[in-house]
């Protein structure tokens, strides 16, 4: 009997016993669903963290000079308190670093806080207020959709002009063009000169509810004490240039702060790599736990299939006897039951793949995660699923093939 024949027979048997087959395939089904689903989630998170999260928060080849890291996880209380005691970054620091760097870079400084923005009696609360220098929009890749950004002159003069985030503009100006109108930020009027393109959201938080005004304008009062900035952003053209700029910045800051060689830096330089450190730690755990869980599900699935097959051999002893009396060799019987176990596992795996892909698609549509199914995980699902079937089928099949035909025929 050829292999093809064995497969066809297996599919026939599975079709004839749908319920039993369904139950026996469930273990592999769950395992493969999880494999595909978890893989696509981790993949999606990976892409999200590297492309969007780190990119949005810090930017490529960019570092932020701050009092303490902005993105941090699991920081001890004592460390946190030490950070709070550090001196803040001053306008003078930012200027000094900007002018002393010999690497060609683009810099901007900014401060931010939350506050409300009003127009014509409408008030938008919980808006990110940014006081920044003119290259800020550029460096943060915030493109102007309508109007213009503020000029270096406006920035230096501290003119009361403002650029709005997309959502904020929609909210305050549902049916008029915001350009040229005047909004009030804590009762001080600002002229709207531009609206930024829609940014979407990050981990479910809208990135479009903000205003950017020149750092030297009165907005400074809302975001920081006089002369203080949250961060100096330095964007270099390449990774080595960024490293060089970081070294220079460290030296300049240490000298301005009069730090002795043994003293630690009392400022932080944050890169996207630093932000990603945390993610790398987390994903390492996921890459260990994920396959473990998949493995457990598949082992359980294999045991279920083995049991079902042992039952099938016991139930079909007479059938095996008949087949042997008609000329089936041991290997024919072996193949028949092996094919059945494998087919069961592959049916389970296929359903698992379909469900896993659907799950991943649902996630992509319903959440900000760009979950994507990798073709390799599908291949792995089929191979591993089929492998479980073969392994689980070997013992029952070899038992079936060794049955004595006379005894098997006598079985009622």
């Amino acid at each position: 009997m050829r292999v093809l024949e064995a497969i066809r027979l297996a599919l026939q048997t599975i079709r004839a016993q749908k319920l039993k087959s369904g139950f026996s395939a469930i273990g592999v089904f769950i395992g493969v669903t999880f494999l595909i689903g978890a893989w696509s989630i981790v993949n999606g998170m990976n892409r999200y963290m590297t492309e969007k999260f780190a990119g949005t928060l810090v930017g490529v080849n960019t570092f932020h000079l701050r009092r303490s890291p902005n993105v941090n996880f699991n920081v001890q209380d004592s460390v946190w308190r030490a950070w709070r005691r550090r001196p803040r970054i001053k306008f003078a620091d930012a200027n000094a670093v900007t002018h002393a760097l010999t690497v060609s870079v683009v810099t901007a400084w900014y401060s931010e806080d939350r506050g409300s923005v009003a127009y014509n009696g409408k008030v938008a609360k919980d808006i990110t207020l940014e006081g920044a220098t003119e290259r800020y929009l550029d460096i943060m890749n915030l493109k102007i959709a309508d109007g213009r950004a503020f000029t270096p002159q406006e920035s230096r003069a501290g003119t009361t002009v403002v650029v709005l985030g997309h959502d904020l503009a929609q909210k305050l100006f549902p049916d008029v063009n915001p350009i040229g109108r005047t909004v009030r930020i804590h009762s001080i009027p600002y002229r709207v000169i531009g609206v930024v393109e829609r940014q979407g959201n990050l981990l479910g938080i809208s990135l479009d509810k903000f205003v950017v005004a020149p750092a030297l304008s009165p907005i400074q009062r809302e975001v920081n004490p006089p002369g203080v900035v949250d961060a100096l952003i330095v964007k270099a053209g390449s990774e080595p240039e960024m490293r060089e700029a970081m070294d220079q910045t460290e030296a300049i800051m240490r000298s301005r702060r009069h730090l002795r060689p043994r003293q630690d830096d009392n400022f932080a330089m944050e890169t996207s790599e630093g932000v990603l450190d945390f993610w790398k730690k987390l994903s390492r755990i996921l890459y260990v736990v994920g396959p473990g869980l998949v493995g457990v599900a598949l082992v359980v699935g294999g045991i279920v299939i083995m049991n079902i097959m042992l039952m099938a051999v016991a139930e079909r002893t007479r059938e095996i006897g008949i087949r042997k009396s008609l000329g089936a060799r041991r290997r024919d019987i072996l193949r028949q039951f092996l094919a059945e176990a494998t087919a069961l596992a592959i049916v389970g795996a296929s359903l698992g793949i379909v469900t896993g892909v659907m799950l991943s698609w649902l996630l992509k549509v319903a959440s900000p995660l760009p979950a994507s199914v990798s073709p390799f995980s599908i291949l792995l699902g089929v191979v591993v699923g089929g492998g479980v079937g073969v392994v689980a089928g070997v013992y029952p099949a070899s038992r079936a093939s060794r049955l004595d035909p006379i005894a098997a025929l006598r079985q009622e």
Binding site: M1, L326, A328, D332
Partner: protein, 239 residues
């Protein structure tokens, strides 16, 4: 016609056993089911094997059918010594040389008549199309052309046994081996079945049939009676 160890059977001898012995170990106690059977069956004979239960006729049947191997002695089937063949070789012999008809029909309950008849051809390695054509022809020969897609439980006892005969003959075996073929049939159907056997016999088929019913054995041309594992009588009778 006496056969000695080392001889080869004459060309027209389909079945030859020489001092065929089969012992069973029943929990330490040895049961001697066959104690040296010498029998020769020529082509186109119709032989009935009779004997009370425990006489060894089922054991002889299993040995002749290559479902079992003897403890000692020789068994030649169609010029080939099969008493010392391996498991897989025996499977091939069962497939090519022997057609079984059982008392309980032994059809696969979930498969239709056509697929049941197809089974030996599957194990012979025939391609699907040819298989189905041959199986259909075999069913036509036993008068079941219109019952091909019926499952066994949709057929009468007589029809089931005819499906079994079609299956037994589809590979054109050297011998048709029937084990109490009428055991589960009423007398009218039994008579019909015996007519089928007679017809096959006249077409040249060699038939060995185990039965304990004298009127069924009466259809055979030769009756061999076993008693306590040896041949008690072996006589030809007028058809």
């Amino acid at each position: 016609m006496t056969f000695r160890t080392g001889d080869r059977p004459l060309p027209d001898i389909v079945i030859l056993t020489h001092k065929l012995t089969r012992d069973y170990d029943m929990g330490g106690e040895v049961v001697r089911a066959l104690r040296g059977i010498n029998i020769q069956i020529r082509k186109n004979e119709f032989v009935a094997v009779m004997g009370p239960s425990g006489s060894g006729k089922s054991t002889l049947m299993n040995l002749i059918g290559c479902l079992d191997t003897p403890t000692a002695g020789e068994y030649w089937l169609n010029g080939q010594k099969v008493s010392d063949l391996s498991d897989d070789e025996l499977a091939r012999i069962r497939n090519k040389e022997i057609g079984f008809v059982f008392q309980t029909f032994n059809l696969l309950p979930r498969a239709n008549a056509l697929h049941n008849v197809e089974l030996p051809l599957i194990y012979a390695g025939l391609p699907g199309k040819e298989r189905r054509a041959q199986a259909a022809r075999a069913l036509e020969r036993v008068g079941l052309a219109d019952r091909m897609d019926h499952k066994p439980n949709e057929l009468s006892g007589g029809q089931r046994q005819r499906v079994a005969i079609a299956r037994a003959l589809v590979n054109v075996p050297s011998i048709l081996l029937a084990d109490e073929p009428t055991g589960n049939l009423d007398s009218a159907t039994s008579a019909e079945l015996m007519q089928v056997f007679q017809d096959l016999h006249h077409q040249g088929q060699t038939i060995v049939m185990v039965t304990h019913e004298h009127d069924i054995a009466a259809h055979a041309a030769r009756v061999v009676t076993l008693r306590d594992g040896v041949i008690a009588t072996d006589q030809l009778q007028a058809a």
